[in-house]
């Protein structure tokens, strides 16, 4: 068990002219929960499908649980469980039948498959609905069943491709709990997500990928440190004050970033002088005659980490979760490309990523 769970070297996969994977290198030690974080089209799904032996790679070597995905695909398949972006369960069968189908295909005898189905239903709190057709399940229940189906074979490595995409917040929290439950029992997990909070909540190690390559990796804390410490955040009362606040901070030697949608200006505040930065920031902004709604010093979000490392924002759903850069005001901002970049990457959920 000392060998790495995943060893990827120089993975290349092209779909027509676009390279979904473009020389991806990645090593995952055993006993970890790793999140692959990146926007749509970064190559996350292609990578997970490669690990699941479903993609014929154009170049590179990929070993999973010590087995080569190409030459020893069956051994790899015995070691993994896969849950995809959608709930890949059959709506016209009961939850129990779905689980039994997976168990039987895995090679379990009928009686064993029945037993594992029963125990998986119990583990995921689905015992009461186990004999109902899946088409009567809620979205959250389907995802749980899907997760359960990937656990029927008690895999060494669980692959979760955007496990909570499309779930409402409550179902999402619920599924997080289920995933954490599996982790405490010792299952290694490789999950992809475009949600920074999800990566931070579930994973001990995060790999950021962009355009088919790994651009950074580390623990959430390490990645945050790489962006350069704390963030001073100024929340103005009147949107018209944004330029004035940004200009004042710029004069004080900061590199402010403006987010018009949330009426916030943020700026790096160094590592160790958080209180001083706060006091100076407050004075600077007040002297500029700006009415404050709030001001504070906080840890950088992973979104800011992504921005700093890749030059563009991670959020690509166009739901306004990325700072909309205002080039006129935010001099020296690292995010000048944010505006045009976001929507371009975010077209369609599976474009480019999957095939």
């Amino acid at each position: 068990m000392t060998e790495p769970t995943i060893e990827a070297h120089g993975l290349v996969k092209r779909f027509g002219r676009t390279a979904a994977l473009d020389g991806l290198d990645l090593e995952v030690a055993a006993g970890q929960v790793v999140a692959i974080l990146g926007p749509n089209g970064a190559g996350k799904t292609t990578f997970v499908r490669s690990v699941a032996t479903l993609v014929r790679l154009d170049a590179g070597t990929l070993r999973v649980a010590g087995h080569d995905v190409r030459r020893e695909s069956r051994a790899v398949r015995r070691a993994i469980g896969l849950a995809g972006q959608f709930a890949s369960v059959e709506p016209a069968m009961t939850g129990r039948q779905n689980l039994e189908l997976v168990g039987r295909l895995y090679g379990q005898r009928a009686r064993t498959a029945k037993a594992s189905a029963t125990s998986v239903l119990a583990d995921f709190g689905l015992t009461d609905v186990g004999d109902r057709l899946v088409r009567t399940y809620s979205g959250g229940m389907r995802r749980k069943l899907d997760l359960g189906a990937s656990m029927v074979s008690a895999p060494r490595l669980l692959l979760l491709d955007e496990p909570t995409t499309g779930l409402d917040p409550r179902a999402r929290l619920d599924l997080w709990d289920s995933i954490e439950g599996l982790v405490t029992r010792g299952t290694d997990v490789l999950l992809t997500t475009q949600y920074l909070d999800e990566a931070e909540r579930l994973a001990g190690y995060i790999v950021i990928i962009d355009r088919g390559r790994a651009v950074a990796s580390g623990t959430p804390a390490e990645l945050k440190r790489r962006v350069g410490g704390n963030v001073l955040e100024v929340h103005v009362r009147d949107v018209a004050d944004l330029p004035a606040a940004a200009a004042a901070l710029a004069r004080a030697g900061h590199e402010p970033q403006v987010d018009r949608a949330t009426r916030r200006v943020s700026a790096g505040a160094g590592d160790d002088r958080a209180v001083q930065a706060l006091v100076e920031g407050l004075r600077t902004v007040e002297e500029a005659g700006v009415a404050l709604a709030d001001i504070g010093v906080r840890q950088p979000s992973l979104d800011e980490v992504f921005l700093a490392l890749t030059g563009h924002s991670a959020g690509t759903d166009g739901e306004g979760d990325e700072p909309a850069a205002d080039p006129g005001d935010a001099e020296g901002s690292v995010s000048e490309s944010t505006g045009p970049e976001g929507p371009a990457d975010g077209a369609g959920t599976r474009n480019g990523t999957t095939r």
């Binding site: 959608f86 039948q97 064993t112 057709l133």
Partner: protein
């Protein structure tokens, strides 16, 4: 928590090393597909009602205007053709389900298991045969109810039915390929509209003598005409030669050659697309 640990141990010990074999896996996949068919009212009820509706429409709406064909009642002309052409119509569902299974990741799930990936396709073909047998049986019963009669022997009638199932094996691969290429249900449904020119531009519903030259040239050289004529000839027995110009054997051989050719070509293409991942 402890229950899961227990199961883990059991599964690790009892699971065979290589996953289910091809035949077991195919049966499991087929069982799921048949269950889906049986438990999806749109498929089984709407499909069957549609089939009956079409058959009745042809018999009474077009049949009235049509009259006899070389001494053969229209119902005896049309029902065998209708059943043969019903094969591709019935299998449109295969393209749609394949595309949706691909889109939702169901196929990825199956392929990520240690059982042979080929079972995804062989299981589908197996299920198609079962579903087809059901649909064709319904169509045959309705055919008899609206006045169709066998002119040949019962054995020939059964051979005609079996022949339709063989056509089904060939068309299954066509629709599997369409589904794999389409990648989503609606596109698959759209591509499946190809069934219309191929069935209506054939001898399935009307004799091709009355078609304009260009259409006739198409109809004479495409598989559905041969399949419809083969099934028709078998149901006509001794009447086949005066009505169709040749005996059943002549049509059956050509229909079989078409079926095998379609099967080989589309099997190869479907497997290639499936493996591409």
């Amino acid at each position: 928590m402890s229950t899961l640990k227990g199961t883990t141990m059991t599964t690790a010990v009892t699971a065979r090393d290589r996953g289910a074999g091809l035949s077991t896996a195919s049966l499991l996949v087929a069982k799921r597909a048949v269950l889906t068919f049986l438990r999806t009212p749109q498929l089984i009820i709407v499909g069957t009602v549609q089939l009956v509706g079409f058959l009745v429409t042809f018999r009474y709406v077009f049949g009235g205007a049509f009259g006899d064909y070389k001494g053969l009642a229209y119902v005896d002309f049309a029902v065998p053709g209708f059943i043969a052409a019903g094969v591709p119509f019935t299998l449109i569902g295969t393209a749609v389900v394949m595309a949706e299974d691909l889109h939702t990741g169901f196929i990825d799930r199956l392929r990520s298991l240690p059982s042979p990936s080929a079972a995804v396709l062989t299981g589908r073909v197996l299920a198609d045969t079962v579903v087809l047998a059901w649909s064709l049986a319904v169509a045959t019963l309705v055919g008899f109810a609206i006045g169709f009669r066998l002119h040949g022997s019962v054995l020939q009638g059964l051979a005609a039915f079996g022949l339709c199932l063989l056509f089904g094996l060939a068309f299954s691969w066509v629709f599997i390929l369409l589904g794999l290429v389409a990648r989503n249900g609606q596109a698959a449904q759209g591509l499946s509209l190809l069934v219309f020119p191929v069935t209506f531009g054939s001898s399935a519903y009307v004799p091709i003598d009355g078609m304009p030259g260009w259409l006739r040239a198409f109809a004479e050289n495409q598989p559905v005409t041969w399949m419809a004529n083969a099934v028709r000839a078998l149901t006509l027995g001794d009447k086949a030669v005066p009505v169709l110009g040749h005996g059943a054997g002549y049509f059956v051989v050509r229909a079989l050659i078409w079926s095998v050719a379609i099967m080989i070509v589309f099997f190869g293409l479907a497997v290639a697309v499936f493996r591409r991942g």
